[in-house]
Symmetry: C2
């Protein structure tokens, strides 16, 4: 494949969270910062995301996408894995350790995040429904089960499996969605894990880059 000097990612034109770093391009920005790869951003409006031109890049009409020469990718997992595979810094060299780091990426996205999204749906999309208050504890419990498993595995370690990897990046970014829910506070080691991740210089650069885009535009 032909690669360009700087890949381009698409991001929200307006910030749904007012620049608090929860939009999913955060994961990609963070990975690019960890490996020291400069990148360009192309903001996309909510309506343009659902149009045919953007759907050519992203079948589900979402952000981020990743374009690098003739390669176009969607799905943050695939984009971060691609970045981690092409550069050093986000995956161990040992083949078995590398496969295990990839397992944590999949775990973050397909085991830990889905109940968190369900909780967000329950809190926001279903907040006006008659069942909202009664159902919320049930959905919170689904999240709590995953957090308890994750907390037990992490124990006193800094990261999930040896040194910091793309698996930790993805897991920490998924857990960040819980910071205002109170649930993360029930698991001190997970809260410390997220704080440790957010203290990384690459995270801070990515966060500031996402935030400043919205602020520069005078949007938030």
């Amino acid at each position: 494949m032909t690669l360009q000097a700087k890949p381009t990612i698409t991001v929200f034109e307006r910030s749904p969270d007012e620049g608090k770093g929860l939009a999913r391009d955060m994961r990609v920005r963070w990975a690019l910062e960890e490996v020291g790869q400069p990148y360009e951003v192309r903001p996309v409006s909510f309506s343009a995301m659902k149009e045919a031109a953007h759907r050519t890049l992203h079948p589900f009409g979402q952000i981020p996408t990743y374009e690098d020469g003739d390669l176009t990718l969607f799905e943050t997992g695939a984009i971060v894995l691609h970045i981690a595979t092409r550069h050093t810094g986000l995956l161990p060299n040992d083949a078995a350790a590398r496969a295990r780091a990839t397992a944590w990426m999949f775990a973050a996205l397909s085991t830990v995040e889905p109940p968190i999204i369900e909780l967000t749906n329950a809190r926001i999309l279903e907040s006006d429904k008659p069942w909202s208050a009664e159902r919320l504890p049930l959905v919170e419990e689904r999240v709590r089960v995953r957090l308890a498993d994750l907390s037990r595995r992490l124990g006193n370690a800094n990261w999930l499996d040896g040194g910091f990897s793309a698996g930790d990046l993805m897991t920490a970014d998924v857990l960040r969605r819980l910071t205002r829910s109170g649930l993360l506070g029930e698991f001190a080691n997970l809260e410390a894990f997220v704080a440790r991740a957010e203290a990384r210089p690459a995270f801070k650069r990515a966060f500031e880059a996402q935030r400043s885009l919205f602020h520069r535009g005078g949007i938030v």
Copy 2:
């Protein structure tokens, strides 16, 4: 890493779906059959899955796990990707096409499957709740939005991006969870996609191997 002649996967000792091929080891069996890799299975009881010994292999106390010499993996996405990377037959040779096939694996597991799991939760875990009937259409609509996007992208093609890949395997297996919901029938090309996947000899061998394990045990 040291590899053995035959990897070992863990599977349910008893079938929650009576051998209809919905347990998640199906994806791993299918991938192993596609690449012609023989394997061993080790059944695990529901209670043993939650115990410390199994949690060493799988932090979330689930099946399947994958053991090959000194490598232990969990998460079907990571296991199938590992198999696809080590053998020919499930990923294209071209690097860009390979990254795109990986994107479909992540899409299946983190974009398409989560609303399907939410629908299963609504149908089964919340079937006795007072909100069950009123809430169901809302959850079905979340699944329908994903299916419409997927259907639009697939169009008249046989597979999602060129030849059959691990991305198609994962997507088809995720969609199989909907076969009795009626939702898949609203999208003729997706129904045909699943039928095409299930017609593959490797799928049939994997399905039969999973089914016969339960029947041999006289469990179903």
